[in-house]
């Protein structure tokens, strides 16, 4: 019994992963997470209805399991960007942002469903808010470091600027990235590069070609 209990968190993550694939397919077919029945979900995943309730209390609980996973993925995807330093060039920024969008894309559709569900799931709303706060703090730290070291516009308010940029990125990643083909991802990366370069680095005298 105790062995089984110890294996449960792993098994829960495993089942959640399998269900993520099934939900991805259903969302791509035009279903919404809100209207999706557990019956339909488990059918698509080839699992029994009772399996769902062995690991999750409801669809919101499943979203919460994915949410933890997705925020790790986002943090990893954003790491190359916030690691940029004094020698930042526009080309480096473009490469880091192209990678961010590309790495995030496999998670985008399900994470978009998570953010949509926050409007009627208070627990999920609290959780995603905490995730967004963590992203905002990371980015605000990046802005502060750049301001201290002289490679980011010193006039910007770090926390508020980071907050607008985080929500901007959240929205575009979730609205436009799930269905984007490779050329579209390139265009989105170009658009975001133009914006972030001009907002953060260019006013501090960084030139596009800086080594």
């Amino acid at each position: 019994m105790s062995d089984q209990a110890a294996q449960r968190p792993d098994r829960r993550a495993e089942v959640a992963e399998r269900l993520r694939g099934a939900v991805e397919r259903l969302l791509r077919e035009g279903e919404t997470y809100a209207s999706l029945s557990i019956e339909r979900l488990m059918n698509e995943a080839g699992l029994s209805r009772s399996t769902f309730y062995a690991y999750f209390t409801d669809k919101g609980d499943l979203l919460r399991q994915w949410s933890t996973h997705a925020s790790d993925a986002t943090r990893a995807a954003a790491a190359a960007w916030v690691a940029l330093g004094p020698d930042v060039s526009r080309q480096q920024l473009r490469a880091a942002l192209r990678r961010l969008i590309g790495d995030y894309q496999p998670h985008a559709r399900v994470t978009a469903a998570i953010y949509d569900a926050t409007v009627y799931d208070a627990a999920l709303a609290t959780e995603t808010r905490a995730v967004m706060d963590a992203h905002r703090r990371h980015l605000a730290d990046h802005v502060r470091r750049g301001q201290d070291e002289g490679w980011i516009d010193p006039a910007l308010l770090p926390d508020e600027t980071a907050a607008w940029i985080c929500w901007m990125t959240e929205r575009v990643l979730h609205q436009l990235v799930p269905d984007a083909d490779a050329p579209t991802v390139d265009e989105l990366a170009d658009g975001l590069t133009g914006i972030l370069w001009n907002v953060l680095y260019a006013p501090a005298g960084r030139t596009p070609a800086a080594a």
């Binding site: 308010l157 607008w164 929205r171 001009n198």
Partner: protein
């Protein structure tokens, strides 16, 4: 005959507008204590002081009412955003800040309806389409503003008008909902300063 029909239609439209106005107040009061999803037509008509049957003469259901309310808010927001999109090429940063305040004020005035719209768009396709149409109209208008500014030399020529408009519009939509809507006066001030700095740096600063 035709003119009688027109008169009837016009008076029906006026009556619908009046009832919509009553119900707007009721929706705003009810949503202080509940979500749009949980709000019943029963409670809504009681709050508005109209008969349930009257509600159904003018609106198919709760979603139909929300769609009508959202339509009004979208018009108001597009109107307010015009203060930004119509800025002259020689506009100063203070003018941009003032335009951003107009947009934020309008959003805050209608935040209950917008929150209900965001909530309902998770499951109501019609509302989702309305919100999407607001974003589409805004993206198109921002892109025109950027293209015109590039022509006049007031906006960075290296920017792709359409792509830049997409990111800036989503930033505005989401930031107003997530950040400005719940903020107090002091936070709002800082948020609008940051928003103004962002838009100023992206578009205009490189040409000054």
């Amino acid at each position: 005959m035709a003119s009688i029909t027109r008169t009837t239609q016009a008076s029906r439209a006026r009556r619908r507008a009046a009832i919509r106005h009553e119900l707007l107040g009721a929706v705003e009061r009810c949503l202080e204590s509940t979500t749009f999803t949980e709000l019943s037509v029963e409670r809504l008509v009681r709050e508005a002081g109209i008969a349930r049957s009257t509600f159904y003469v003018y609106f198919e259901d709760k979603g139909d009412l929300l769609a009508a309310l959202v339509e009004d808010v979208i018009d108001a927001l597009i109107e307010a955003a015009g203060h930004w999109w119509r800025l002259a090429p020689d506009a100063e940063k203070a003018d941009l800040r003032e335009a951003m305040e107009q947009i934020a004020d309008t959003y805050r005035t209608h935040r209950v309806v917008m929150a209900a719209a965001v909530e309902a768009s998770a499951y109501d396709e019609r509302i989702a389409e309305q919100v999407a149409s607001l974003v589409d109209r805004a993206v198109a208008a921002v892109a025109v503003h950027i293209r015109d500014g590039q022509g006049a030399g007031s906006v960075d020529r290296s920017l792709d008008p359409r792509q830049t408009a997409v990111w800036l519009t989503w930033m505005t939509e989401r930031g107003l909902f997530q950040l400005v809507s719940p903020a107090d006066a002091e936070q709002t001030d800082r948020l609008l300063q940051a928003m103004t700095d962002i838009v100023w740096n992206v578009l205009y600063a490189p040409t000054r």
